[in-house]
């Protein structure tokens, strides 16, 4: 998927996210994962770490080699997507207490991913 299409998807998901509050923490975390992954792909394509016909789906499932290359060029974006994905098991699939705070962390990480995508696109 090209960068314009990723941006459009991320924007659409963020508009839906605006209908939620951190009290809806499962949905907020998932929306951050979905929109954040689109921003991650914008950055990956802009930096030519991945071609437009090869999108990353989950940071967790990137190869070791891909993760090492991305960590050199986009360390904050990789850390941010890892952070969002790490919240899914305990707070979306699981029932650990503190979901609203987890949703706030997911929103912070989404903002970091968006910054990385904008910065990479502007280079």
């Amino acid at each position: 998927m090209n960068a314009g299409a990723h941006r459009a998807k991320a924007d659409a998901i963020e508009q839906s996210l605006a209908r939620c509050t951190t009290a809806d923490y499962e949905t907020v975390i998932e929306a951050c994962m979905l929109a954040g992954t689109h921003w991650f792909n914008v950055a990956l394509h802009a930096t030519e770490l991945l071609p437009v016909d090869h999108d990353a789906m989950h940071a967790e499932f990137l190869t070791v080699g891909q993760r090492r290359r991305i960590a050199c060029v986009l360390p904050a974006a990789l850390a941010a997507l890892d952070a969002i994905e790490s919240l899914r098991t305990p707070y979306v699939r699981g029932d650990l207490p503190g979901g609203a705070r987890a949703a706030e962390r997911a929103l912070d990480s989404l903002a970091e991913l968006k910054r990385a995508a904008m910065h990479a696109s502007a280079r």
Partner: protein, 155 residues
């Protein structure tokens, strides 16, 4: 996870879903319907005896569970028999399911199968498709709640 926790998650996600529209909020509607359905399916699978309710959460890797230490809030990975399913058929279950749960699973899979085209991909749904999605979600919820209700009465 425990049945009560799955039901609590389902109610929360279902309430959020009511504020979303499958047209304007296509991606998040599909994703939230899927998550709500999976939690309700897990509750019903546990109630049927097809899977076991346990204090562990399914991870992103099929068959790997995160087990919480409730005192410290930390998690450790473990592999054990299901347990929660991540999606319909993941992990596969050995035994045949009651007909109600089979019908619910088919309806839920309809929602799950929308991810590639309509969440990760760029396709947009027309009003007819959106109606089909709402109907699939409603059918899934109706079947599972009916099963859980009858299970509760038999206890």
């Amino acid at each position: 996870m425990k049945i009560a926790s799955h039901l609590d998650k389902f109610r929360r996600l279902d309430a959020t879903l009511r504020r979303l529209d499958p047209g304007n909020d296509q991606e998040l509607w599909i994703w939230s319907a899927m998550n709500a359905g999976v939690h309700l399916l897990n509750a019903a699978l546990h109630a049927s005896g097809a899977t076991t309710e346990s204090d562990s959460f399914h991870s992103q890797v099929e068959g790997v569970y995160a087990v919480p230490d409730r005192k410290t809030g930390t998690l450790h990975d473990a592999m054990h028999a299901p347990g929660d399913v991540m999606h319909v058929g993941q992990p596969p279950l050995g035994a045949a399911l009651p007909a109600t749960l089979e019908r619910a699973s088919i309806a839920l899979r309809t929602i799950e199968d929308l991810r590639e085209r309509f969440v990760r991909g760029s396709e947009r749904a027309d009003a007819s498709l959106q109606r089909e999605w709402r109907n699939a979600y409603a059918a899934c919820v109706r079947e599972l709640l009916a099963f859980l209700d009858s299970s509760e009465r038999e206890r």
